[in-house]
C-alpha cells in the first residue's frame, strides 16, 4: 500500500509532467524558429562557401580566420582585416555611446515622471509608450526627415544665419547615433521608471535631514535604489543598438556600415555564408561578454537595498 509520502511524490511528478506538457508548444516553436537555427549558424561558420551562396559541406576554419584577418592573395601572409576592425569598432562605439546618451537623458526623464502626482503619472507613461510602440522604421524615417539637408534643423540654421550651407548630418556616424538614441530612448526610460515608481521618498527625506546635498542624495540614495532599472534599461538598449540594422541602413548610407550591414552583405552580394555566420556568432559572443561583465560589475559595486 502506498504511503502518504509516496502519494504526494506521485502528485508532484504528475504536476511537473503537466507543466512540461503545457509549455511544450512554446518551447517547440522557439526551438524550431529561433534557437535551433542558431546552432545551424554555428555549424555553417566552419564550412566552405559555395559558389552561389550557401555552403559546401567541407570543414574550413577560413571564415573564422577572416573575421579579423586577411590573407594576402600574393604571398599568403595574414594581416589584420582593417575593414572589419573598423566596422567592429564603430558598432561597439556607437552602441556604448547610445547607451550612455539614452541613460543621461532617460534617467532624469524617468525621475520626472515618477515624481508627478499619481494621476498625471499615467499620462506621462502613456506619452512615453506611444513612441515605444510606433514602428521603429517609421521613427527612423521621421529622424531622417529632420536631419537631412533640406530638413527642419538645417532650414532653421540657415534662416537664422548661423550657417550659410546645410550641415551634412545624414550618412555620417553622428546620424546613426542620433537615430539610435532617438529610437531606443523609451527602452531606457521605461525600466528605470518602473523601479523609480517604487522608490520610497522617506529615505530621500532622511538623507536631507542628515544634511546631504541634492547631488549626494541622488548619488547615495536614489541611484543605488533604482539600479536594477538602470541595468535593465542599459541591456535593453545595448543589445539592439549593437545589432541595429534599420537605423544604420537608413541614416548611415552605404559607407557607414555597422556589424549588421556587414553580415547582410555576406549573405547577399558577398556570397560568403560561412563568413556571415562567423560574424553573427561573433556579435552574439560580444553581446554575451558585455552582458556578463556589465551585470557582474553592476552587482558588485554598491550594496543591495532589497
Amino acid at each position: 500500500m502506498a504511503t502518504a509520502e509516496q502519494v504526494a511524490k506521485a502528485a508532484e511528478r504528475r504536476d511537473v509532467r503537466d507543466r512540461w506538457l503545457l509549455s511544450a508548444p512554446a518551447l517547440l516553436v522557439i526551438f524550431l524558429a529561433a534557437t535551433g537555427p542558431l546552432l545551424i549558424v554555428l555549424i555553417y561558420s566552419f564550412l566552405t562557401p559555395g559558389p552561389y551562396g550557401d555552403v559546401k559541406w567541407q570543414f574550413s576554419p577560413d571564415a573564422w580566420l577572416s573575421v579579423f584577418m586577411e590573407r594576402d592573395i600574393f604571398d599568403d601572409t595574414l594581416s589584420l582585416a582593417a575593414a572589419h576592425v573598423t566596422i567592429f569598432w564603430r558598432s561597439i562605439k556607437l552602441a556604448v555611446i547610445t547607451t550612455i546618451a539614452t541613460l543621461a537623458l532617460g534617467f532624469p526623464t524617468a525621475y520626472f515622471m515618477a515624481t508627478r502626482s499619481e494621476k498625471t503619472r499615467d499620462l506621462w507613461l502613456f506619452l512615453i509608450t506611444i513612441p515605444f510602440w510606433t514602428n521603429l522604421l517609421i521613427r527612423t524615417f521621421a529622424v531622417l526627415q529632420i536631419i537631412r539637408n533640406e530638413g527642419i534643423i538645417n532650414t532653421i540654421l540657415i534662416k537664422l544665419g548661423i550657417v550659410s550651407a546645410p550641415v551634412q548630418i545624414l550618412f555620417t556616424d553622428t546620424a546613426i547615433l542620433i537615430g539610435m538614441a532617438y529610437v531606443y530612448l523609451p527602452l531606457m526610460v521605461l525600466p528605470i521608471y518602473a523601479s523609480m515608481e517604487k522608490l520610497d521618498f522617506r529615505l530621500v527625506e532622511a538623507g536631507y535631514d542628515l544634511y546631504a546635498t541634492r547631488f549626494k542624495v541622488l548619488r547615495k540614495i536614489i541611484f543605488p535604489l533604482v539600479k536594477p532599472g538602470v541595468i535593465a534599461g542599459s541591456i535593453l538598449v545595448f543589445i539592439p543598438a549593437l545589432g541595429a540594422y534599420v537605423t544604420p541602413s537608413v541614416l548611415g548610407g552605404g559607407k557607414n556600415m555597422m556589424l549588421s550591414n556587414l553580415i547582410e552583405l555576406q549573405f547577399g552580394q558577398g556570397r560568403n555564408w560561412p563568413l556571415g555566420s562567423a560574424l553573427s556568432i561573433t556579435v552574439m559572443i560580444i553581446v554575451m561578454v558585455a552582458l556578463l561583465a556589465y551585470v557582474r560589475n553592476a552587482g558588485k559595486s554598491g550594496t543591495r537595498h532589497g
Binding site: A33, F126, T134, L137, V250, E264
Partner: protein
C-alpha cells in the same frame, strides 16, 4: 534642516525631461504634417492636401503589403498568445521544479539575441527547408513571427498570473469543480486582461518587424515595413509619409487600447 523645498526636486531634471518629450514628438509631428503636403517632394510645402493618402490607397503594392502584414500579425499573435498563456500557467505560482529555469531562459531566448542574428539563422534554416519541401509560402514568416512574439505575449500574462492569488481557485476546487471547470470559470476570466494585453503586444511586435521579415521572406512577400524600407532606400516621396501616418494612427489606437486593458486592476 528646514524643508522649504520639494524633496522630490532635482536640479535640471525637469528641463531634461521636457526636452526629451519635445525631441520624441517633434520628428513624428513633422512627419505627419508633411503627409498632408500637396507638393510633389518633401523639400517644399505646397499647401494642405490629402492626395498622398489617396495615392497610397490606390497603390496595389501598398494594399498587398498591408493585407499580408495583418494576416501574418493576426495569426502569429493568436498562436503566440495561446502558447504563451500555456507556458505562463506552467511557470507561475509554483515551487521551483526541475527545468523551470531552463524554461525561463528558453522562452526569453529570442530577446537576448540581436535580431540580425536570428534573421540570418532563419535565412539559412528556411532556405534548406524550402529546397527540401518545395513550399515557399508565408508559413515561414508566420512561424518566425510566432517565435519572437512569444516572449512579448508571455510578459503581461505572467505578470497578471503572479498577482492573482489562489484563494478563488482553491474555493472552487473545494466546491467540487473539476480542474477544467475551475480554469474556465475562475482562472481564465481573471487572467483575461493579461491575455488581451499579450495579444495586442504580440500583434504590434509582429507588425513592427523589419529585420527578420526581410531575411525570411521569399520574393513578392513584402510586409508593409519591408515595402517601406525598400521605398525609403530608393528616395523619399510624400506617399511614404502618408503610409507612415496611417500606420502611426493604428499604433496609437492599439497602444491606447493596451493602456486601458493593462491598467485595469482586477
Amino acid at each position: 534642516m528646514a524643508k522649504n523645498f520639494s524633496i522630490k526636486h532635482q536640479t535640471g531634471f525637469t528641463v531634461i525631461a521636457a526636452t526629451c518629450f519635445i525631441v520624441l514628438y517633434l520628428p513624428i509631428i513633422v512627419l505627419v504634417a508633411y503627409a498632408f503636403n500637396a507638393a510633389n517632394s518633401t523639400s517644399e510645402w505646397g499647401g494642405f492636401s490629402m492626395r498622398w493618402f489617396q495615392s497610397a490607397w490606390q497603390n496595389v503594392q501598398v494594399i498587398d503589403a498591408t493585407l499580408r502584414s495583418f494576416q501574418i500579425g493576426a495569426v502569429a499573435a493568436v498562436l503566440s498568445t495561446i502558447f504563451a498563456t500555456m507556458a505562463a500557467l506552467a511557470t507561475t505560482r509554483t515551487a521551483s521544479y526541475p527545468g523551470l529555469t531552463f524554461k525561463y531562459a528558453a522562452i526569453n531566448q529570442p530577446l537576448m539575441v540581436p535580431e540580425i542574428v536570428t534573421g540570418v539563422a532563419l535565412l539559412i534554416f528556411f532556405s534548406r527547408i524550402k529546397i527540401f519541401t518545395g513550399y515557399s509560402g508565408i508559413g515561414y514568416l508566420i512561424a518566425a513571427h510566432t517565435a519572437f512574439c512569444i516572449p512579448f505575449a508571455y510578459l503581461p500574462i505572467r505578470a497578471r498570473l503572479e498577482n492573482m492569488d489562489l484563494t478563488l481557485e482553491r474555493a472552487a476546487a473545494d466546491l467540487y469543480a473539476t480542474p477544467w471547470k475551475t480554469f474556465r470559470r475562475i482562472t481564465l476570466p481573471l487572467l483575461w486582461p493579461g491575455i488581451l494585453a499579450g495579444l495586442m503586444l504580440a500583434f504590434v511586435i509582429s507588425l513592427d518587424d523589419v529585420v527578420i521579415t526581410e531575411f525570411v521572406k521569399s520574393g513578392g512577400q513584402d510586409t508593409l515595413p519591408t515595402y517601406m524600407l525598400g521605398q525609403i532606400r530608393r528616395g523619399i516621396t510624400p506617399e511614404i509619409n502618408a503610409i507612415s501616418t496611417a500606420f502611426l494612427l493604428l499604433s496609437v489606437a492599439i497602444v491606447t487600447l493596451f493602456f486601458f486593458v493593462s491598467r485595469k486592476r482586477d
